[in-house]
Symmetry: C2
């Protein structure tokens, strides 16, 4: 049991360090052009379609006022647009624009490139093992 305890501490420390490194490195890739939250909003709009601004607060775990600032910045850059619902004129949803889709695609490619390089340390067999083991941690399989 001693060994297991030590392994768990090692795993916890490793996860924290690696998560932080990867997050910082991706932030550097996005840096200057768009924030992580801007990127996430574009990604979700592209994947899931138009949404109300208020729907993003729980997803991004930030305050409603912060979301408003982020969406204002995205509207300013013309990457998203606010459209009033035809069914219910009281509802306004944000939609990703064509320019927004292009920016998203550009950064997705840069991110994929980054992950390819970052995971270069693995053979195909190791990567397959890592995916298999890591899949066990995903509760929403």
């Amino acid at each position: 049991m001693k060994v297991r305890t030590q392994m768990m501490y090692d795993m916890e420390t490793l996860l924290r360090k690696v998560f932080k490194q990867i997050r910082n490195e991706i932030n550097e890739i996005l840096d200057k052009e768009l924030s992580r939250n801007e990127f996430t909003i574009l990604r979700i709009l592209s994947e899931q379609g138009p949404k109300k601004v208020t729907e993003f607060a729980p997803i991004l775990e930030v305050s409603a006022s912060h979301i408003t600032a982020v969406t204002d910045a995205l509207v300013e850059k013309e990457w998203i647009t606010r459209i009033r619902s035809k069914e219910d004129r009281r509802i306004i949803r944000i939609h990703i624009t064509e320019a927004g889709e292009k920016v998203l695609q550009h950064f997705n490619e840069k991110k994929t490139e980054y992950f390819f390089k970052r995971f270069d340390c693995y053979t195909d067999a190791e990567l397959a093992t890592l995916i298999e083991l890591f899949s066990k941690l995903d509760k929403k399989r």
Copy 2:
């Protein structure tokens, strides 16, 4: 190469999903009693000793004004205290209190308990493999 590309996409998606699940689950453990940033500040003060408030902004990747709000809350709870430097009276550092250390220890135990349960899906051998593979991703070994 097609296989490798697909594996990389799988890995990227998995990492994002699992990181998010674990982060949310830990937030739930901390919830109500202290925020993640409060927890991180206590942990760093305990591990590294007293620090100036401004030193936390880059570590936590948040604004200086947000750090001030967080440290105010921690002082209010009497988990940290502000002490003026004897060498240079212009400098004020925050120190963790005995009560702060107790809170930190309590949540560290809860977090360790959580990780034990969360990684229960692995045999010792699988956990060892996961640590070995994941270590390769840590750039600051």
